[in-house]
Amino acid sequence: MDDKLALELVSPERLLVSAEADMVVVPGSEGDFGVLSGHAPVISSVRPGVIEVHDEDKETERIFITGGFAEVTAEGLTVLAEEAIPVAEMDREDLEQRLRNAEEDLEDAETDEATHRAQATIALLTEMLKAVA
């Protein structure tokens, strides 16, 4: 396999990753999908989860993204992420602490909006913890 897939991971603030890889696994909202070079053009929304970058038969990078969109074209794969954090930089204890805080927020929440926000945070943090595990 000499064809490599060009991967670009961009957030609104900057271009985060611009690399080549053999395969990238994207957590699509309808299920994970792997993208290799020559993949059919797809636009998909992305749920919070981990993007796995595979190169040379190894998993070279794991990046957590908080959601966004993925676009596959003939040129390669572009992921428009809201926010991206390399899994290696996430701290399990810190996440657990934040999850506990969010759960407290949920208990204290008085308005619907606050409840909703706390629930969203909990869902996000749970996904992040899964990624670290």
Binding site: E8, P12, E13, S29, P41, I43, S45, E71, L80, E82
Partner: protein, 296 residues
């Protein structure tokens, strides 16, 4: 004629003003570089977003039930102006220009019987608009606490706007900001946010997109659009804020450069007067001494 002491005091005060303006110019220059870098870093995302919007709109199966955020409600009675300005003054005509444009548009719309509501971002714009369009201002978003603009600063504004749109508080939303062309020139730009005004697939786009217009969508187009449209609003606002920040620093830099130069000219002029006065005094004293000696 002013005494020597008065002139000295005057010169010193102008000199300290010059020091301040020079410092401000240098601060603006370094902030400008940062703001410019940030604006450039944000460009890939905005470009990709635009491209996806174009291909999605092109692929829409039946444009008739496209989301209202995209095609609008078919009327344009109430307009929402989002006016981005700066938090600080001393940046030349930066705020004046933006406000003037917004005011012009508002006046025309009001005369033709439309309603105008204004959402200000930044204190300076609000202060200027409050005088004659005070009743139309809905709210002001304070950005003074923001040290480094992040996307997180734009999302609440976007959410606010989409919520207002869903509550049918306005039909058309226009964003006013200053586009950063270069350090010396910034251009006031108005950009229609809602309805998105289906990005006219220009000739060029059509050719580029034509090659790979056969996208698969996951989930369906309309669901993606539902997600993408509000995001697009946020991205546009973020982009405008970045441009605005760079323009503000550019305008301030030019304004402060002028001020520094003016102060320099003033110092030169005052120094000349000072020296002349001093010499006149010396001459006068000498004449007094000589004529005193002659009289003996």
């Amino acid at each position: 004629m002013a005494s020597l002491k008065d002139l000295r005091v005057r010169i010193n005060s102008v000199r300290s003003t010059q020091k301040i303006t020079r410092a401000m110019q240098m601060v603006a220059a370094s902030k400008l570089r940062r703001a410019q870098e940030q604006a450039e870093a944000g460009r890939p995302y905005a470009n990709h977003m635009r491209r996806m919007m174009v291909s999605l709109t092109a692929a829409l199966t039946n444009p008739d039930d496209a989301p209202v955020l995209m095609v609008g409600r078919g009327e344009a009675k109430t307009h929402l102006f989002v006016v981005a300005s700066s938090e600080r003054g001393l940046c030349g005509s930066f705020n004046t220009n933006i406000v003037r444009r917004a005011r012009q548009r508002a006046t025309t719309l009001l005369q033709s019987g439309n309603k105008v509501r204004i959402l200000c971002i930044g204190k300076k714009g609000r202060d200027m608009l409050r005088r004659d369009l005070g009743d139309h201002i809905v709210d002001t978003i304070d950005m003074s606490g923001v040290r480094r603009l992040g996307f997180g600063d734009a999302t609440p504004i976007a959410r606010r706007i989409t919520e207002m749109f869903e509550a049918e508080e306005f039909d058309v939303c226009t964003l006013f900001y200053s586009h950063f062309k270069s350090v010396l020139s910034q251009e006031v730009t108005e950009h229609q946010l809602i309805p998105v005004g289906v990005p006219e697939a220009s000739q060029e786009d059509a050719r580029v997109e034509g090659a790979d217009a056969m996208y698969e969508y996951e989930p369906e187009e309309d669901e993606i659009l539902e997600d993408l449209l509000p995001r697009n609003v946020a991205v546009q606002i973020y982009h405008a804020l970045l441009e605005n920040a760079a323009s503000e620093q550019g305008a301030r830099m030019t304004a402060m450069d002028n001020a520094t130069r003016n102060a320099g000219e003033m110092i030169d002029r005052l120094t000349l007067v000072y020296n002349r006065t001093r010499q006149a005094m010396i001459t006068k004293e000498l004449i007094e001494i000589i004529s005193g000696a002659e009289a003996l």
